[in-house]
């Protein structure tokens, strides 16, 4: 695995993503759901909302880095608020 140039932070990052996907897969099997229409006026399932959360979080982090440029962990707090909003209203 040396050629992949792993680091602890990136391994942890992918680990968290993998765990999230596994948890959501189990949730989808155990508690099947009905798609709903939220403020974006599109039908979304839990998985869709997770995707919107992850993609949006990536952009929030980039925007924070580009515009603020310091205290990157605060961007994560913003992401959590965003995630809660997505799961509640989208």
């Amino acid at each position: 695995m040396d050629w992949m140039a792993w680091t602890w932070p990136t391994a942890a990052f992918f680990g968290i993503i993998a765990c999230t996907l596994i948890v959501f897969t189990i949730l989808a099997i155990k508690f099947p759901e009905t798609p709903r229409i939220g403020i974006l006026r599109i039908e979304t399932t839990r998985g869709d909302r997770l995707f919107i959360t992850l993609l949006g979080s990536a952009f929030i982090n980039l925007a924070w880095l580009g515009l603020v440029g310091a205290n990157q962990p605060y961007a994560l707090i913003l992401c959590l608020i965003y995630a809660a909003a997505v799961f509640r209203w989208v």
């Binding site: 140039a5 680091t7 990136t10 099947p32 009905t34 993609l55 880095l65």
Partner: protein, 289 residues
């Protein structure tokens, strides 16, 4: 709306997922790993944190390339989609000429990218190329190696030549699926040609047109070979599109860290646009259904 969604079918996708893991996910993970480190070769890496992302976000070079890329995609979509629809509307609907047109339209799609680039590179040359020579003989100043505008026109015309057929063929398939009854009803109502297009043909083509726009946008947004063969990104940096810039950075300068950060941002933009198109398409389908 009361039907629950059963997600178990996703397990059937596992074999494909394994294949994709090796061809896409593992390389993508490696790129993420590169993006937070610096290397001087020899497979030795040093932690750099978010430095490369910061550098790339502040890099005028990347924003310029992104601007050129968006402009390129916007121009080719603005030309190829209406032109493709126009061609499809005017193609024969049946008989020998319909088959002939279909084969003729497919030909550019069968030519590999680098060959298309080479064809246009030679075609546009002022000394031996038919196009360049004729324009020069007519007294029209044209030299894609020295003039940015000429270089842009060349790569746009090349892309239009290569890919309008795809839009036309998709639009044609959409048109063929419209039942005759619609046209008969329009005739009874004495609808004009424009109204038939606006209220029958265009709505019925919407689904395939969205696919055409998505395909053409993604392809043009990631284009590399054709403009690289024709202009090499020049003159200066005037036709250096995102992927050309990325390859220059990663392979030419061996700046793996910044190039990896650049790739991830490029990937995120593509993912976002893909999702938007996918959502619009599936919602269109549902509305039609």
């Amino acid at each position: 709306m009361d039907k629950t969604v059963n997600q178990k079918a996703w397990f059937l996708v596992l074999p494909v997922l394994l294949l994709v893991a090796f061809s896409a996910v593992v390389p993508l993970m490696t790129v993420v790993n590169y993006s937070v480190q610096d290397t001087f070769g020899n497979n030795e890496f040093f932690w750099a944190g978010l430095e490369w992302f910061e550098e790339m976000l502040a890099s005028e070079r990347m924003w310029d390339a992104l601007g050129r890329q968006l402009l390129f995609s916007a121009i080719i979509l603005a030309i190829e989609v209406p032109l493709g629809v126009f061609v499809a509307l005017n193609m024969p609907k049946s008989g020998f000429w319909a088959s002939f047109c279909l084969v003729l339209m497919s030909l550019p799609l069968l030519i590999p990218w680098n060959v298309v680039g080479t064809i246009w590179q030679i075609f546009g040359r002022v000394d031996i190329g038919l196009l360049g020579y004729v324009l020069d003989a007519l007294g029209i100043p044209y030299n894609y190696t020295q003039d940015s505008l000429a270089a842009w026109i060349t790569i746009i015309v090349m892309d239009v030549w290569h890919w309008t057929s795809l839009v036309a063929l998709l639009a044609y398939a959409g048109l063929k699926s419209i039942p005759d009854a619609y046209y008969q009803a329009a005739k009874i109502d004495q609808a004009s040609r424009w109204k038939v297009f606006r209220f029958i043909e265009l709505p019925k083509m919407m689904g395939v047109l969205m696919i055409a726009i998505l395909l053409r946008f993604m392809d043009s947004f990631m284009i590399y070979t054709e403009p690289f063969v024709v202009t090499g990104g020049g003159p200066g940096n005037s036709t250096t599109l995102l992927s050309i810039d990325l390859v220059k950075m990663a392979l030419g300068q061996f700046d793996l860290g910044p190039a990896a950060a650049f790739s991830i941002m490029y990937f995120l933009v593509i993912l976002l646009i893909c999702w938007v198109f996918y959502t619009v398409m599936t919602n269109l389908d549902k509305r039609e259904g």
